[in-house]
């Protein structure tokens, strides 16, 4: 059952009891969010089962992918341009501007592509998920689904999860491509690095492994953003104020998890 009630009926007796209670609740909430995520992922094969489900998946793909495209284009391009500019300024001291392409490519593939995509999707799509499901929760629409014996996780969360799982790696790759193009633009206009030389240096250092790790990161970020946002939506309380708080919490938690998980994945795949 998705509808959750406060675990404790009575207020805590003292400060220690309050701290202990918060710790237990936090662990319970993490477990609940994880359980929702697993349930949503488990339902993913059913997304292709009927025409109606496929249409819903397409709708969510549109919301996640196409509607975020404009902001991702701008952010991806400028991330590459800033990287190119900063790296170029340092490399110029050693007259090694030709390596701008290598530096931008590695940064974009390994870190900046998935990170920027994750952060943008958390802000644009995740917040919208939390707000929409939160509004549905406080308007009793989620409870109505439960009473109709329709699983809110399968009905609401699984299509969003499916769309994020499919779109985050694609958008991350798109961000990388735009970042590399942006870096090339700066290299050519600010540091006089010829385009073909820039691309040649960039492609020389690009390895498939780096691309795969970047895409894996993006995939993990997509799952985490959906899990956190839908969890916040399903546990929203107290009307419009609660929806606002749930939206804020979903963005903050997603940002933090993206940073922490990004570090952990990097540490796992790249030896020190």
């Amino acid at each position: 059952m998705i509808t959750r009630e406060p675990v404790y009926a009575d207020p805590p007796a003292n400060m220690f009891a309050a701290v202990w209670r918060r710790a237990v609740l936090l662990l319970g909430n993490i477990g609940y969010a994880g359980s929702l995520t697993v349930q949503a992922l488990a339902g993913a094969p059913g997304l292709l089962a009927t025409g109606r489900r496929r249409r819903e998946l397409m709708r969510q793909l549109f919301v996640t992918g196409i509607k975020s495209l404009a902001v991702i284009t701008v952010v991806g391009m400028f991330t590459g341009m800033i990287l190119g500019l900063q790296v170029g300024l340092e490399l110029r001291r050693f007259s090694k501007e030709i390596y701008i392409g290598s530096a931008v490519m590695v940064s974009m593939l390994r870190e900046m592509g998935p990170f920027m995509t994750g952060l943008i999707l958390a802000a644009c799509v995740g917040s919208s998920m939390a707000a929409q499901i939160g509004t549905m929760t406080v308007n009793d629409e989620v409870a109505a689904l439960e009473i109709m014996s329709i699983s809110p996780v399968r009905f609401l969360m699984t299509p969003r999860m499916g769309a994020m799982v499919l779109m985050t790696p694609v958008l991350s790759f798109y961000t990388c491509v735009l970042g590399v193009l942006g870096g090339g633009l700066v290299g050519q206009t600010q540091f006089n690095v010829p385009w073909d030389q820039y691309i040649s240096m960039a492609m020389d250092i690009a390895r498939l492994r780096e691309l795969y790790v970047g895409l894996l990161k993006a995939l993990v970020f997509g799952i985490v953003i959906t899990g956190v946002s839908c969890y916040e939506g399903f546990t929203t309380r107290q009307g419009a104020v609660g929806v606002g708080q749930a939206t804020r919490r979903s963005v903050i938690t997603s940002f933090l998890l993206i940073l922490v998980l990004g570090y952990i994945i990097t540490r796992l795949f790249y030896d020190l």
């Binding site: 059952m1 509808t3 009630e5 406060p6 009926a9 009575d10 207020p11 109606r52 549905m136 308007n139 009793d140 629409e141 409870a143 109505a144 439960e146 009473i147 109709m148 014996s149 329709i150 009905f155």
Partner: protein, 256 residues
């Protein structure tokens, strides 16, 4: 049919329901009235296990819903229709799609049969021709009627109404009341209505219960309800600004 046995619901140290015991008989319209925040909707939500009591038990036809597992809860819920206060329609689906939702998601009913059932439900609630509109394109009263159509599409044995007439003009409110009565008469459903609207309650109820402080202070037929000297009930009746004679006439009209 539905039985509450010493049900207490406690939140933040406050008893929202306080040792509440009552029974609803098959086929009756049982109306719960009372001031805001006294636990009327909470009582309703316990019946379908959207909430679980802190202590006590809730029974639906011999099954203890309050202690049932997920599968049993699902089975029990299939016997219920629930009209939420705002209709609780899904905004991205049309009225017809909303009404068809339980059939589409839970049954393998052929499309033609679903369409027939939806058309019948729309006709029953007076929304023929509005099936293709989206919830934000229809009025609050129409949304409630659409919610009611969705609640009855599965032909439930019990329909729960949470404030079915709140926020509606008196004419629309009476239309909803007549609809509840008609569904009760024509489909033989058991109805539990939570409302502030005493006029409506007197018109349609077989029994009216007054909930104050988490427990019923009066449970009686409409005629007895208006005649009682119980102070909370008297205060509630007087606050409705309806002369006593008017109330008697209304309860008498229901009884005939």
């Amino acid at each position: 049919m539905i039985r509450f046995e010493h049900v207490t619901k406690c939140w933040d140290g406050r008893n929202v329901l306080n040792d509440l015991s009552f029974e609803i008989k098959r086929g009756e319209i049982f109306t719960i009235v009372g001031p805001s925040g006294t636990g009327k909707s909470v009582t309703l939500k316990h019946m379908v296990r959207l909430l679980t009591p802190t202590s006590g038990s809730i029974w639906v036809d011999g099954m203890e819903v309050s202690a049932a597992g997920a599968d049993d809860v699902r089975q029990v819920r299939e016997r219920f229709g629930y009209l939420f206060q705002g209709g609780a329609l899904l905004g991205w689906l049309t009225v017809a799609e909303n009404i068809a939702l339980p059939l589409r998601e839970r049954t393998k009913m052929p499309q033609a049969e679903i369409e027939g059932r939806v058309a019948e439900a729309l006709r029953m609630v007076g929304l023929e021709g509005d099936g293709e509109k989206y919830p934000n394109e229809i009025s609050g009263g129409m949304q409630k009627r659409a919610g009611l159509a969705r609640a009855i599409i599965n032909r439930p044995e019990i329909v729960l109404y949470d404030e079915p007439t709140s926020g509606l003009d008196p004419v629309t409110a009476r239309t909803i009341d007549h609809l509840i009565q008609r569904l009760n008469d024509e489909l033989g459903v058991t109805s539990v209505v939570v409302t502030h609207d005493l006029q409506g309650a007197l018109l349609i109820a077989d029994r009216i219960a007054m909930l104050t402080g988490g427990r019923f202070v009066e449970v009686s037929a409409p005629a007895d309800f208006v005649a009682t000297e119980q102070p909370d009930v008297r205060g509630f009746l007087d606050a409705q600004f309806i002369p006593k004679t008017g109330l008697h006439e209304m309860s008498a009209r229901r009884n005939t």
